[in-house]
Assembly symmetry: C2
Homo-oligomer: 155 residues x 2
Amino acid sequence: MPRAASSHAAMVPAASPWDGVAERLRSNGLRWTPQRRTLVDVLREHEGHVTATELIARCRERDQTTTPSTVYRTLDVLEDFGLVRHGHGPDGREEYHVLPDQVHGHLYCVACGATWEIRPETGAAIVDALAADLGFDVDLSHVTISGRCQTCCRE
Amino acid sequence: MPRAASSHAAMVPAASPWDGVAERLRSNGLRWTPQRRTLVDVLREHEGHVTATELIARCRERDQTTTPSTVYRTLDVLEDFGLVRHGHGPDGREEYHVLPDQVHGHLYCVACGATWEIRPETGAAIVDALAADLGFDVDLSHVTISGRCQTCCRE
DNA sequence: TACACTAGCGCAACGACTTGCAATAGCGCT
DNA sequence: AGCGCTATTGCAAGTCGTTGCGCTAGTGTA
């Protein structure tokens, strides 16, 4: 959807959810700093999953002075805005899902180390099962379930 | 204490899965050390869930010289023997399930902080759903799923 | 454009967990 | 009971993530 910001703004590249971040922050009394800009630039190219450590490394590529604490704190802020979502990988380390268009859980194969996303329908089945059991309202996005993938099971 | 060390030992308390640990270790070329004894003694009284940090603290109560690295390493060994099982809590920290008589997953309420075990039947439903989806063989024991419990949902 | 207000930054220290390594001490064997 | 082999230990150093704090620098306002 072209989403014309004015009568003649037809050349906008395809609105990215990141485009309005600065304004969104400011309108909430927060600030748009160089450090946040760096992180957002990195996130732009990482739609998918990334570990916090990797994000820090990538930020440092662009700005040597990047500090871990700042990155973690900015990620917290972005999470409040729904732009990223964090969970814990099988080893307990932080993992971020960039732009969670759709909440989904993850599977991790302990044998080959690969990860998969749980399909929405399957995720729904899990959510339903737990809702029926204890009336629990699951937040799938925060979880990585481990086990063995089909391929590794065969071996 | 009655427990006669007589020729006929009929007063043994009821065989605990821990009773044979020393022998099991030795017969596998491993060793039964004072440090391991301390940890096992602690575990004996903790059937259920414990964090690694708490275990270390309890060990230190009994033996001031307890070192974290030793405890972690011993837990790894015990896990190989199936006596404990570790997973990661919602904050990514290690949690140990002592004597997992039955593999089960956990639920954590982000609102009130309580945790529940997932009932076997419900767990089975989850395992089945993922098996059907990707042929994935889930290891439920390693997971804590977060969300909101029934009570907190109502509020 | 200058100013004050305060969000955010970088630092330093801390807690949880891991790992390499040299010294110690269980265990089986004689 | 003594001996040697090597599993374990304890330490030190390292990684990942968090937190308290004083100083810096975005922002809205005048």
